[in-house]
Point group: C2
Chain length 421, copies 2
Amino acid sequence: MSLVVAKFGGTSVADLKRVRIVAGHVASCRDEGHDVVVVVSAMAGDTDRLIELGSSVVQQPDPREMDVLLASGEQVSVALLAMAIQERGLRARSFLANQIRMRTEGSHMRAKIQSVEVKRLQENIASGVIPVIAGFQGIGADGDVTTIGRGGSDTTAVAVAAALEADECRIYTDVEGVYTADPRIVEHAQKLDRVVCEEMLEMAALGAKVLHTRCVEYAHRYSVSLRVLSSFVPGTGTLICEEGEEDEMERPDVSAVTHDRNEAKLTVTRVPDKPGLAYKLLGPIGEAGISVDMIVQNVGAESLTDMTFTVKREDYQQSQEILRESIAELSDELSEEQVQLMNVVGDDSIAKVTVVGVGMRSHAGVATTMFETLAQYGINIQMISTSEIKISVIIHEDFCELAVRALHSAFKLDVAHPLAN
Amino acid sequence: MSLVVAKFGGTSVADLKRVRIVAGHVASCRDEGHDVVVVVSAMAGDTDRLIELGSSVVQQPDPREMDVLLASGEQVSVALLAMAIQERGLRARSFLANQIRMRTEGSHMRAKIQSVEVKRLQENIASGVIPVIAGFQGIGADGDVTTIGRGGSDTTAVAVAAALEADECRIYTDVEGVYTADPRIVEHAQKLDRVVCEEMLEMAALGAKVLHTRCVEYAHRYSVSLRVLSSFVPGTGTLICEEGEEDEMERPDVSAVTHDRNEAKLTVTRVPDKPGLAYKLLGPIGEAGISVDMIVQNVGAESLTDMTFTVKREDYQQSQEILRESIAELSDELSEEQVQLMNVVGDDSIAKVTVVGVGMRSHAGVATTMFETLAQYGINIQMISTSEIKISVIIHEDFCELAVRALHSAFKLDVAHPLAN
């Protein structure tokens, strides 16, 4: 007998028919002999509806009250799911954040989980009850309702699994697992049986929307065994494992090719090569809550350089404005001529294509193969950024699908690869 | 400076426009120099929607989970109202039942309030914050979510007012106050400025749907000054006061004429005059959760009697069936002939018309005037039931409006009476 924490997202409980299907998954899991703890998100659409409701009262709703409003969504879904599980003759009981002391720290609407009290959950499990826990919500100082940001229910599930020392944390979602590439683009994309945690982290950060980065990090840190699988299609999904748990001999150089169309590129031209300028230009962007992804800079001739970086596409306009203001304020320390020379140019018709794989640590030539493949198809590389286990390039968005398919073939992911089913 | 607890019902916050109107009432109350604590129900329709949602999952939903589901309605309205009050430049903060330890006892879906922790509320009031409290919900043993039955938010407001020793508890609703009769029936019905608590209790129990009996009882017991007024029409409403607070000299015999069409009458004929039979016949009805209102019995000739009582119209069919079963079971202690003789007859085309007034304690002749008036109009009285401050009669429902209008005139309530505005 093992303990499984099963998390179901909003699309999995979008209507009562699906709530009953989820109750069926829970019952099957019990039939297999496991103890089960369920974590559930608000019914799909509910959170959006509540956000709209709040925003129609005030343009900038108080985050404390917004959290109270949003958390009501999960309160509805836990109750309905507990009832649906009971209807199958099993015992189930819903738990809200305050009932299991799901303590959080940090600001409203993006709080971070600190601790979960497991005593009551353990007692319930021991007496044969299936706890159904509200995801996404927590309690802050004073017992106030907090929420932990969109997609936070995944993190709730991992936190609960870690606290209960569960054998596995299953994230049921609307995809069958993690693929070598987006199956909508690459016909021969393969579902991976296993993926190493570091790879999953890179892929999550790169926009493969299967799991949130925070959830994967959390699972990694607390050694929670994480499995992604479909609520709708039977299957074993993809296990996110620690490096070494898979067979190293069989490991390919590249595990997956991912892409992200939601980026925009900004370049500040003719930046004087002077210490501290990068900070003065990028600092105000971070302060505005905009996250900067790739940053590339090369010192060129005449001690002038171009600094290029990427942001999310929705932050493109605002980033340009902030940059122009920052340049104007540099007149304190630069000559008027130097300031006049600088300029901001940008491009939001770009795509980021990335190859990921822990295997590339020990195999040279991944970069060569990547650049050669893109050259063969006449695809121009605008920016390059690398880490130990990934290489990302920025290209024109029109070439995105072509590049993904070409690289997927070049790295031999089309054929059923050793880790794919 | 005084402290006012203001409760707004579901129709008062039915949509965002109305939520803003309520925020306006709260702001006006502050402008008048009062400290304000707000109690709010779920937006009209929300509770019904949630009940339907729960009932579509399971025919008999678990009451514990139903409470979790239902309480989400108030969680939405407190957040929205707090935001709307903030938008007027005031400080407001929502509180759910668990945040102010609104402890309840008894079963789910009809729990009873035991205590409220006022410390946090007092601190907030002292620092200029307007607390916005979720009505209807409480916490039971283990911190589980409970609800206190339909219309429970009125009781929440009174409990909060009692705990905070508020100067007044204002129940904002969709009527302008308590009337001498239903204004939809009696054109010259007068709004009462004051009504004595005992009268209000009789009227609430008799189906004048302005306030729930439980709320009035609670206010009476804890000496909370209660005022009913409209969310939509300006005015001072009706103050529910203790006897003696109004001017005794001016007190009329009858304060109001109320009616209730939602009753049905059942008669068990030829019941042997034997101790314990009434209990054996009525007991099983009470056990089925059906509440019995008027009971009339007279011993007649041959030691046989007819026993008549009234129930809510929706319980009419079920009550008949239960009675027939109960009679069949009497064969243990009665002869076969006695059992055969008994019969159940009923009538659900009845109406109850009642005159209420603490003044009738000291004035004889109210019954005479009542029966005389009904006789003048040829209205047959089927049953009579009296208490110290009310006389109720059961008549055919076709005569209901006629009887109410005739009695309203006979007791001189049509002309502006001393306590009416």
